[in-house]
Amino acid sequence: MNRYNLIFLIIFFTFILPGPPSTPITSREQYHQLQLFRQHLSQSFDLLKNSTFNHNYGNLTGYMLSYQEALDAKGEINQTYPLPGKDYDHYANNQEFSILPDLITNKAIDVWNLNKGTSENSNYYTNVTSKLKGSFKRHNETTLTKLPLQLPTYLEHLEDVNPDFPQQPIENYPAAPPRLVGNITELEGISKMELRIISTIEGEYFNKVDDVVKFVRLDIQVSDELEYDKQTIESSGFYFVESGNIVTATNSAKFFSLYGGLQHLTLNERNFLNSKNLTIEFMRSILFDEKQEDRISEAEADFSYLTSVFDKSQNHCEYVTYFHIDAVQLTKDQIKEIDEELKNPIGRPIDFSKIPKINMKGLMYSPDCAIEIEFPGAEGVKSEIENFRLNKVVIAGIALLFAQIFLLLKQMGHSNTPSTISRISYYTIWLMSLVDGSLAMLYLIGSAIYNKLYLPFIVSAFLAFILASIFEIRFLINISMVQYNERTMTLLSAFQGRAMDDPEQQNIIQQPPPEDESQISSAVYTRFFFTLIVFTFVLLNSLMWPKDLRATFERVALLFLNSYWLPQVYRNVVKGSNNSFQWWFILGTTIVRLIPVFYVFVFKSNVFDHHQDVGLFKLITFWLAVQIGLLGLQSWFGARFFLPKAWLPNTYNYHPSLTKEDVITGKFGIEFNEQTNKDIADGFFQMDCAICMDVIRIELDDGKKHLHNNNRKEWMVTPCHHVFHSECLERHLRYKLQCPICHLDGLLINTEDTFTIVANEILSSYNKGPLTWDVRLNLQGRTGDDVSRLCCEIFGLPITAQEWKEQNIKKQSVLWKSCKLLPGAEDLIKYLKREGIPFALATSSARDNYLKKTGHLREIFDLFGEHIVTGDDPRIPEGKGKPFPDIYLTALGSLNSELSREGKSEILPSETLVFEDGLSGVKAGLAAGAFVVWVPHKEVRKLMNGEEHQHVKDSGVILDELTGFKPEDYGL
């Protein structure tokens, strides 16, 4: 596993997999605490059921002391019950009884508009679920006293009881006081509120007095203007539909608001009774079982519930809030219609953009931190309307995704050949797929957050995902495949377009390790997903950064992500080509990708709640226009028009003028002999094109006459010095960006590839083929006649074996001249010679072909001396080629005869090593009783798929390359 995979897995396991389902109880003490906690909840619930407005709170955690008592004791008093001499039989809205100071109570009464009535035409919304934005102001009251709130005694040591990790107080370094959540220090700033009406729990409707009071949750986030210090307060409480009033309070282990405390804070008896009954129903549907005399549900009130309640009480300021929602100028029927349409749309003629927004104002007070916050006004739109707008935007996004998929597929259809793909920049598509991939992730998260819009979100996520991870990645893999070879070149040499075997480059260029498609695609996939996940995490993280940092990040990221044409401009320069993408793709993609930016930055009231920033949009548009402009200029004036000619190294010239010297020195793989000399005489040289086997007439440059340019365009010289017809080579390069001659594999020399090339060429001329490796495996090691006959039979060619052979030899002989030794072969042979180890060559090729194949490699093959047995050797009986052992035994005989001449002892077949590449040869070697070193072609290896080991068993090894052979292992 490579490093990317590992990091990817670590990230995956850390973030994606869920944690343990619930906190387990680890000690007897914790179990005891849980029991006490359950008892405590049950007692508090009883207290709630028996409470009346005119009686005091009683033994309710967090409400045992009134503000007056705390004021009298200057805060130096603990929550105790019963307090000696306290009047528990009465209650009034003043600080004698309430936990709130009179100052706050009076302000609350003011906020609630209790002294005003409502008119016929102004009513309150029944459904107020919404997100609101506004400001806040902190009153710097120093006169208010903190009300001491303590945990019940049995919970005080909840944290310390874990026996495994005893807490060690660090003496010399007094711990910094922990951050107090809700301790708002800013004097003013912005507030964001999320108001939700809870009417069902797990699909069950619990509210019996729905038109009077509703259970609400209110999350208030306050922060300074730049959002450096964010505080979130989660509270729950009641919304009184008839008056538009809201009261909520936080809940924790030291502040049991919902068990009677908050109900008293509703200021009058009617509200008290309604909210009390609602709370009882709410509690029964989540914690207590009504059928079993309100027994507490042990599954719900488990240890993790305890710890969550406990955590909320640690370092938290508790809050009580009072809000009032402004009445709207709508009749009750209209409000009902609106709510009904939002819940269950049937197309009522309601213009949702015109219905009044929700306005809310109020205050918030913390008894234990003595903080008073005023909210002069917050405004928001009903969540359902917001969802409708979001839905429209997401649907529009789906249309854009379809458009992008369509454009990309069409472009991929246009760039389907290696030469067209090689012009396309990897990073252009990579940037696009990064954006689309992160969009898929964001959509996926969106589908989890917006339950109502699950369907459109999940469809968008799916589309974005297939766009990014199927189409775009596929394209990236194709591009990597095609551009793989060149990436091992230095950029400089690509830029200068030097020849591959330029002597200056020799040291730099190294043969790339063999890599196949699956390796490349897995590398592309891992790299892509790794980047994607990191990027998405940064993106999600950035949402929580302070405003100014966020704005900077947004600018930088958007400019970066919108630079997708820039790599293409660079690519054009490197490749010197000027038509990469189709123009409709460039313009279409730019527009499709610019529309969302336009919506977010130009529309003031966009659904993403993003501030208007026309400047940034103009900047991005300008930046894209510059990039497209560059592409346009490149296509008109050439890819490198902006670079001064003097700086510009020449691109490789495929149409050089050839001189007589070039031909004579044999630089171009041309055999120089009398015949060719004669050809040269009249200023022309004739040679065969290895692709069409037709004659190339090359006009030689003698330095005197000016060569006709058009004439020179007829042939092409590759950087590896092979000459072809321009037309032939271009046609070939459309399918494979390699020289047809020298992308040449076999054991010692790479004749196998030349065989394939030639056989395929012949097959394709009869509309047959291609030659697949399963067939090849059969043919390997057979003699020429056998191969010809089999080929004709297998593919049903309309020619005789003889004709096949002739065509084959004609074509192959051209290619064979450029056969190279395989890695390790030369070293091995020289090593054997040096060490004086007897060795011989046994090949199924006929003597003729053998000579042709190895003619240019004489110095190596001469080392074999006389010990060469070819397929047509008279010593081998007819029909006894590989896989029969005869050929090897003959070769061994040849060696032994020399040894016996020198008076040395003969070698037994079991003492020999046979090096083989073909399966039939391996069988032959094994049959001869030798130890076989099998070096199969990597394609064969893939095909055998692990079966190969059965063939050699214990009497042989399998190597990937001859270089892997260690003579020391065999005592050589």
């Binding site: 197309g347 009522r348 003629p349 369907l455």
Partner: protein, 287 residues
Amino acid sequence: MSIPPSGFRSLPISKILIVLTATIPLISSLASIKYLYYLSLSPFISEYQQYWRILSSQISFINESEVLLAVVLLYQFRAVERFISSYRYLSMITVFWCYNSLLITLLIGTDLYLNRLGLFIPVDKFPSGPFAIITGLYAIYKAYIPVTYTFDIYHTENYKITLNDQILVNLLTLQLTLSQGWCSIWTGFMGYTVAWLVINGVLPGLKWRIPFYKDLSALLLNKTTSTEGAQTVALSNGAADSTTFANRAVSPNDEDDDRNNIMNRDEDEDPAETRPLASQFLDTFRR
């Protein structure tokens, strides 16, 4: 049942109709705008005055089983398109749609009047989806497409049921018509009646053709008609024969097609050769 050649070769209208029948509900559901296809007197017409619903309610089915049935039926009805040419097929559908919309409008007008008088309203709810058009196409199918074969199902030696190859189409149409209860039944019946009256010349419209169809089809269906045109003619050859034979109303606009057919047939076989009716029918479906 089996009507070779299979697929949509040279049947652009059937193809488009099936694609739309399947995709419009999907897109509507995704965009949650299915409510645009609802139509009932109250509240949409009497309270909200949303008269556009008369047209929109015929656009799309809103539930999956109806979509499925409609797609299967339209696939079967493609034989009609092959029989009467795409041009006539589309024209017929348009004519049916106009008649049905008119009838629904009339019904709603009557309803409103009755409502004002405080009388009983016979038809209040209308189904969502082109029920009337499907049953209209069924009517053409029954009128134009001959039975290919019949088969018997024996209960006992003496008691048997004789069925034909159109049984599936009959049953599916019945099921589609029953799917929304009373309102889809009468709408389906209305569609069938209108189509029957049009086919039999009681109501005008059989000879009406969509104007500019040639231009439009050249614009939209360019590829389908040009590349497959030759095959179309060859394939619809037999169908056209039976059209003329059955003495159906053939408008002058169809002459081009017919001339092609005849020319094509010239190459195929001797025009003088007379084939019995049965073999003509069989040849229609053999090709």
